[in-house]
Assembly symmetry: C2
Homo-oligomer: 472 residues x 2
Amino acid sequence: MDARDFRAWGHRLVDWIADYLENVEQYPVLSPVSPGEIRERLPKYAPELPESFEQIFTDFQKHLLPGITHWQSPNFYAFFPANNSYPSILGELLAAGLGVQGMLWQTSPTCTELETHVLDWLVNLLGLPEKFLSCSTGGGVIQDTASSATLCAVVAAREQASSGFTGQLGACPRLTAYASTEAHSSVEKALRIAGLGTASLRRIPVDKSLALRPEELERAIQTDRRNGFYPFLIVATLGTTSTLAFDPLRPIGDIARRYHLWLHVDAAMAGTAAICPEFRFFHDGLEFADSYCFNPHKWMGVNFDCDCFYVADRQALIRALRMVPDYLRNPASESGQVIDYRDWQIPLGRRFRALKLWFVLRAFGAEGIRSLVRRHIALARQFADWLQQDPRFEIVAPVTLNLVCFRLRGDDSLNQQFLQRLNATGSIYLSHTRVHDRFTLRFCVGNLRTQEHHVHQAWQLIHRVADSLVKR
Amino acid sequence: MDARDFRAWGHRLVDWIADYLENVEQYPVLSPVSPGEIRERLPKYAPELPESFEQIFTDFQKHLLPGITHWQSPNFYAFFPANNSYPSILGELLAAGLGVQGMLWQTSPTCTELETHVLDWLVNLLGLPEKFLSCSTGGGVIQDTASSATLCAVVAAREQASSGFTGQLGACPRLTAYASTEAHSSVEKALRIAGLGTASLRRIPVDKSLALRPEELERAIQTDRRNGFYPFLIVATLGTTSTLAFDPLRPIGDIARRYHLWLHVDAAMAGTAAICPEFRFFHDGLEFADSYCFNPHKWMGVNFDCDCFYVADRQALIRALRMVPDYLRNPASESGQVIDYRDWQIPLGRRFRALKLWFVLRAFGAEGIRSLVRRHIALARQFADWLQQDPRFEIVAPVTLNLVCFRLRGDDSLNQQFLQRLNATGSIYLSHTRVHDRFTLRFCVGNLRTQEHHVHQAWQLIHRVADSLVKR
């Protein structure tokens, strides 16, 4: 493919994407294909000779598109949103065209400096503590996901806990970490990867609203200390994956400070809502946090992957992750005047992800993002109101922002059948969870394209499918 | 930005990228900006109101472009190549437009199945062992980088070594891993992240060609066993970062088998060369490997990030990384008929990276990639020939594929000055390493656009700058 072909095909793909996104409602949201169905359509071996892009793109449309689950559909209410947006797609395109590596400042200064800059912008936009600014002791970095951010927090906290304590890892296998029973699975995964094992995680009970109970946290820490364990990390969640429950940060932070534990705060989806002053309440107590993350790739219209991870003390992170082989040494790094983000993350190489974030923040403006968040939250509340008017439904967790957890009054199998029938229509995609050990449907409003009429249609469909299962 | 704006700007960016790549030689390869220079040009706060893309893109060209180091320049010979290519950029664009998540098979079946499929294609193209095929006990997955692949290998190997051994992590802090003194820093970084610490890594001496010495490896394992350590992992490198040295896989594999250690093989850049039968020699003994990775994002024209990671026994990997919270359960996963790649990697979420790999393999064809590899290797050898004809230079490591490590006869400071002068011209970018404890220049030929006249110009420049430092 030469430059001329690239121009022609680039234009065609841009137009195809615009058409796709304008008409994405016409596809079944959840792909209906069976396991193996896509692979069966593909030739067993790679071609020896070049093929035309005409043929390749025809195959994409014919053989691959049927196996796509349409995350960009306005009728996608499953999991959490993973929005793209037009400016963000352009950001990915331009980053791909430039093809630079941001492992060191020197390997593309703009890649590092723009990242530092927009992460500082976000500190201001979300009202985060000033210690997360790059001009302080801390700073921000883009990670691929909140899972990786949690792993970075675990290794930084472990480094801090073990140095000056035993001086050597492996000698303190009795480190213990704390998170609520509702915390994301990535907390346990990070502890396992870090070699601390599942047993190091203390799952703290939650209250009726599914938020961590601080008094239980303190009790667990005290018990562990008495038994010779070494508590080192608390992970608080602002907006759990299951029900969007908010752990009370202020009392948790107070405990973290009194007992000298690292406090990591995971606000993966909900963090974006802090751009609206009226929804910033959940950040109360964030000044206690040693690290914090949220995902613009969820609710801010920035293509996956883009998780913003902040630390209060960058040295703790760098000590845990820094490696300086000879082939990466350079005068800029040794001057101490630059940030080398390879020391702030698990991998060495890194893409130019700040570009899409910069495009989105400028093309939307803070007000544009605020109005998006406000619309989604209003729509979720509207949906909850409709549910509440029908006694066959129950809402099983507080509707604080844009997630509604609900179920039909009845047993789990009824609700499983309900979900299965809804998703099989292709008109809507919801996911599920277990709340108080009962099968529960999740309705998360977060797609850029979701308007009131979509939520209304969803409600009508839900109502109709409920009719087929339960008498009014 | 609406769909109309997106079409217009998408077309403009596609054309800009084509112009950029056609004229990338006109920029200084290494950005000449000083630390902080880019940030100074940017406003301190994000805008409250939306800005026009005209303004944003003008700012990009005016304020950001000067801070780009041009990895796509044909005159880029530093580190390793990180090629993009036209089909790959289109793959990134389309993946961004679709905006799907591949964490579970269900969340976009095509995303998973195409990945499995093209990774099987590569097993055939590179002549990898059949146990890495998805129809066997193993299989392949796309990771972001070789660093993450190594970390996955470490946790899988640790899981295998500890189960049935102590049953509990933390109880076996005496696990030891083995890699050559020339192995990539990511091996030590992975061991540190995994909580085993730097002390767990035994750095095995190398021979004159900078390849691991198997007899030293065996001796180290025996010594550790005698002293109550538990050897669990060998990382062999096929093409070290520093000098592209190849560890002898067959004797290493034999040791791994006899002592029951997990063998991970890192072929990050060099792996691509195995697509040419005449360069596949370094894979001899690969049937002993438990895991293997190489990076199409280096030398295969696939945009970063795209590391292909293979395991011989997928269950070992899944046991180490699998977490099944209620909100991710689904009938397809529970049927056992599908792959859920979140269990094969550190993060949960994942982009649709298989698309760009599929585009490249089809648009280039195997023959297209082979001719690229052959051209680069021939050019590196040509460059080495020129060097050898000038007695002021010495080549300090074998030129096996596309990397030439050389220096001026003289001390380190002379060579540092030499490199600094070369890179300051902006006409060329080389990086450096230390070989036998001496400062050494690295000349790696791997950019898609690098033709004979570029290498010839590079040689002329090198010759000229040498003249300014050392008499003929």
